[in-house]
């Protein structure tokens, strides 16, 4: 879309296959505010949160090194320290711990996997932190 000249952005939020009222309301307010800012809607200014912007920092991806069940050790949107345990992968049949996932950088765990079954490579989480 950007390539053909339509300014486009992607919003990711919430958990797949679930309706989240607060996420939905936050997104709606954001869309209305954006349309007001762009001159599409003539409405009063909508109060929105000030966003953290990823210009200077970096996003690191946490991918599963092996198949199993992913068991998170911390909550979504927590600040994690470098080396802190984010979660574990356990064997789906025997329960044995197969891997321990450590945060490679300090930052905010802004994405955390909800669906527990993982294959090698499955995205477990994303951390936004300072550029290393």
């Amino acid at each position: 879309m950007n390539k053909i000249g339509t300014k486009t952005l992607v919003v990711e939020m919430g958990v797949g296959m679930r309706l989240g009222k607060s996420n939905g309301e936050q997104l709606l307010e954001g869309l209305l505010n954006l349309m007001r800012h762009e001159g599409i809607l003539d409405i009063p200014k909508v109060e929105v949160r000030f966003p953290i912007q990823s210009h200077e920092g970096e996003v690191v991806y946490l991918n599963a090194s092996c198949p199993g069940l992913f068991v998170p050790a911390i909550e979504h949107c927590q600040v994690v320290q470098k080396g802190e345990v984010v979660g574990h992968i356990v064997n789906a049949l025997g329960g044995k711990r197969m891997d321990e996932i450590l945060a490679p950088i300090t930052g905010i765990l802004f994405t955390l996997r909800a669906y527990p079954i993982v294959y090698e490579g499955s995205l477990l989480g994303r951390i936004f932190g300072e550029k290393q």
Binding site: G68, N91, V118, E120, G121, S122, L123
Partner: protein, 322 residues
């Protein structure tokens, strides 16, 4: 024949994903080709053609007829084939949108990366594909214009149409485009209907592949000539859409030569049976693709017709008698 492991990916709770290839003429000094089968779980016809090719080449190898290096990988997405799903069942991603792949990435990026590594170094690359929409088609060659394609070699397949066109942005993540960029003369043979095997189409594609292998000096086997392929570009294809939704009933098959004004099919009301639309051909040409399901949405592409006039093909000069 050597059965080789291409990719093995462990699973948490089922047998590992195993992508296997069948290698013929491993130590040959001749030309080489890698043939990739079903990347989608719906491409059963592609799987069938590839597996029948393996059996054919096994016999030819015993007869000493293999003079090139030939790798056939009949199935990539075996999980999806087993489950009757189109994409990678765990996250619904399309393996054929992950190339050249990324070894540190997500699951299908890793599968693509390992497969792509195994496909490097071949002179020719052949991808057996089905349509990505709900259509079925005459077997044709799809060759993307990347600047690295080889149009001359694909004529040796002897199929009636070669669709040569610019790539669209999403195709830069597909196997054919990346394979071309990495030095292999890659192309796709598109045929069949999703989820079904058609014997007649399968024979045509098999014969085309054998013809190619023979003409490109990888197989010592005499072959009948195929078609003198028509190279068509997007401007030569007339796309006809259904004006109404309902039950679709075609009157023609792929390959039918139609005249302007011929009846191609109809759409009936799904509840009352009333005829809602009579689909008429707007031009003369050959029906190359048609919608393959009985239920159709409004604006779905119902037929594609390749027109000689619009393809810019020159008519043969006829000598006038003096």
């Amino acid at each position: 024949m050597k059965r080789v492991d291409i990719v093995t990916l462990e699973s948490p709770n089922r047998a590992p994903l195993k992508i296997e290839g069948f290698l013929f003429g491993e130590n040959s000094k001749g030309a080489s080709v890698a043939i990739v089968g079903a990347m989608s779980g719906e491409h059963v016809n592609q799987l069938y053609v590839a597996s029948q090719l393996v059996e054919y080449l096994r016999i030819k190898e015993e007869e000493g007829k293999i003079v090139g290096k030939i790798l056939v990988i009949p199935a990539i997405n075996t999980y999806a084939l087993n489950m009757g799903e189109r994409h990678w069942p765990l996250d619904k991603t399309d393996i054929n949108m992950m190339f050249p792949g990324y070894e540190q990435g997500e699951t299908t990026q890793r599968i693509a990366a390992r497969l792509f590594e195994a496909l490097q170094g071949y002179d020719y690359g052949m991808i057996l594909e089905g349509r990505r929409d709900q259509g079925m088609c005459l077997p044709y060659v799809k060759i993307i214009s990347s600047g690295y394609e080889d149009l001359e070699s694909v004529k040796d397949l002897g199929l009636s149409f070669i669709h040569h066109r610019p790539h669209n942005p999403v195709e830069t993540a597909m196997l054919q485009y990346n394979w071309q960029l990495w030095g292999t003369k890659a192309f796709s043979i598109v045929f069949g209907k999703s989820g079904a095997v058609d014997e007649s189409t399968s024979r045509d594609v098999h014969n085309a592949i054998v013809r190619f292998l023979s003409k490109r000096k990888m197989l010592k086997s005499p072959v009948f000539e195929g078609y003198n392929s028509n190279i068509i570009n997007p401007a030569a294809i007339t796309v006809i859409k259904a004006a109404r939704a309902g039950i679709f009933s075609p009157s023609v098959k792929c390959g039918t030569h139609v005249q302007k004004g011929d009846k191609l099919g109809k759409v009936m009301d799904a509840l009352s049976g009333e005829r809602l639309e009579k689909i008429i051909s707007p031009c003369e040409g050959i029906v190359t693709c048609q919608y393959s399901h009985p239920l159709i949405f409004q604006n779905s592409i119902v037929f594609r017709i390749a027109s000689v006039e619009m393809s810019g093909q020159k008519e043969p000069k006829v000598k006038k008698k003096k």
